[in-house]
């Protein structure tokens, strides 16, 4: 180690704090101007931590399940009655769906319409909830060899969760629909009216920019719209409700508070991401 005189060492020690404070401001500017470097650093840290989180989140999942089970015991009777009723209703819908599917297939055959390709998906485990007061995102563990790409759509079993915003070698970050930077083109299923779903960092994102005279009504189902090529049309997003102060918000269908697994769908849409951030799809199989 270099030997320096005591006064000099004291002077350096006194300088460290102001220099680091200045470095913080420099970081803020760097993060604004050079998003690629910041992203690379984030992805590297996420890749490093995801295996650890993967191990640690398992016992937490077990405790979560235990808490849910105890809570569920109290409402077992009411829940059972509700499920019976729902089951009866769903059976009816099942018959309707089967009839419609048969009819649909018959009509497609008549018209010679090719069937929609079934999109491929991978299922990934949510290992960390990196949400703060200012950003809503989760980290998923994707395994070392995967075909996850930026802009892919993430769904849980009920509906839209968000989209992939960063991809590392074994991790991916999903920007949730509730994040303040999330903007998703949606449409009201009943009327077909288009709108933008804007995250607020709160639990329910808001609807914005609908056409005049097509105001969404509480209870309307909201689905994604294929506008702008960001999302495939018709993915369930949530239900319209009136929030505090008369704001029109959407109650997400996905259980964003308890994400355990998400499906990352590959619809082959480049989305609203800038072209340089979109990697062309990798050819699968055959090599």
């Amino acid at each position: 180690m270099i030997r320096v005189s005591v006064p000099l060492r004291q002077a350096i020690a006194r300088l460290v704090l102001p220099v680091l404070i200045a470095a913080s401001f420099a970081l803020m500017l760097l993060g604004k101007a050079e998003t690629v470097i910041a992203e690379r650093a984030r992805v590297a840290l996420a890749d490093l931590l995801v295996p650890v989180y993967g191990v640690l989140s398992r016992p937490i999942g077990a405790v979560q399940d235990a808490i849910e089970a105890v809570r569920g015991l109290a409402e077992l009777h009411a829940e059972n009655a509700r499920l019976r009723e729902e089951n009866a209703r769903l059976r009816r819908w099942y018959d309707v769906a089967m009839a419609l599917e048969a009819e649909n297939l018959a009509l497609r055959a008549v018209l010679n319409v090719p069937a929609d390709p079934t999109p491929g998906f991978i299922t990934a485990r949510v290992v960390a909830d990196t949400g703060t007061s200012y950003a809503r995102s989760v980290l998923v563990s994707t395994g070392p060899r995967h075909a996850v790409r930026k802009g892919q759509v993430a769904l849980d079993r009920n509906g839209l969760v968000g989209r992939v915003s960063e991809v590392g070698s074994r991790s991916a970050r999903i920007l949730l629909v509730t994040d303040i930077n999330s903007r998703i083109p949606v449409q009201i299923e009943r009327t077909g009216a288009r709108a933008i779903l804007a995250g607020t960092n709160g639990p329910a994102p808001r609807l914005q920019h609908w056409a005049d005279g097509q105001q969404p009504q509480p209870g309307d189902r909201v689905v994604t719209s294929a506008q702008a090529g960001a999302f495939p049309a018709g993915l369930p997003v949530g239900t319209v409700r009136i929030g505090q102060g008369g704001v029109i918000e959407v109650e997400p269908a996905a259980d964003l508070n308890r994400l355990a697994f998400v499906r990352l769908h590959d619809y082959g849409l480049s989305g609203i991401l800038p072209p340089e951030q979109v990697v062309p799809p990798r050819r699968r199989g055959g090599g």
Partner: protein, 175 residues
């Protein structure tokens, strides 16, 4: 150089280094732990961030063990993990460190309640500054409610973190 005093074995030096790194390492673990999935649905993360409480506590009682570079790195890790704009948490943590250093002599002799109140005031001021900075960086008026909830949690968790840190501090004091 301090570790190079004559008569110290390698093990003793390692022990000393472990002592010196303990507070920052513990804070790092707590920062990582704050991102584990929450036990009760609705929270964001398992714990509120331990960064303000930890920087406050260690700067107050053992400033040598929470040096500015450690504070900076801890803030940076927090920023990188949360995917938020870089630099905000590093700045807030450094300002917390600097402010506590100036008030150390007065605060260190006070009771726990007074120290907690001082933490509440300081944390409120810094989280407010954080909100302003993030609004400036996003060029938008961000919602106020989530940061207020965060402040509530950070303040409410201070006694728990403090209890935990006191245990560690005592074990460090009596090696």
């Amino acid at each position: 150089m301090a570790a190079g005093l004559p008569g110290r074995t390698v093990l003793q030096r390692l022990d000393l280094a472990a002592h010196e790194a303990a507070p920052a390492a513990l804070t790092l673990v707590l920062v990582f732990a704050s991102c584990l999935p929450p036990l009760v649905p609705g929270q964001s993360g398992l714990l509120p961030s331990a960064l303000p409480a930890s920087v406050f506590f260690w700067t107050l009682y053992r400033p040598r063990l929470m040096a500015p570079p450690a504070v900076f790195l801890l803030g940076l890790v927090q920023d990188l993990l949360s995917g938020a704009p870089l630099g905000v948490n590093t700045l807030l943590a450094l300002l917390m460190h600097a402010t506590v250093l100036t008030q150390r002599r007065v605060l260190v002799r006070q009771s726990f309640l007074i120290v907690w109140i001082a933490f509440v005031i300081l944390a409120s001021a810094l989280l407010a500054l954080g909100w302003v900075l993030r609004c400036l960086l996003a060029l938008a008026l961000l919602p106020v409610l989530p940061p207020l909830l965060e402040l509530g949690l950070v303040v409410a968790f201070y006694p728990a973190f403090s209890w935990f840190f006191v245990r560690l501090e005592r074990s460090l004091a009596a090696p």
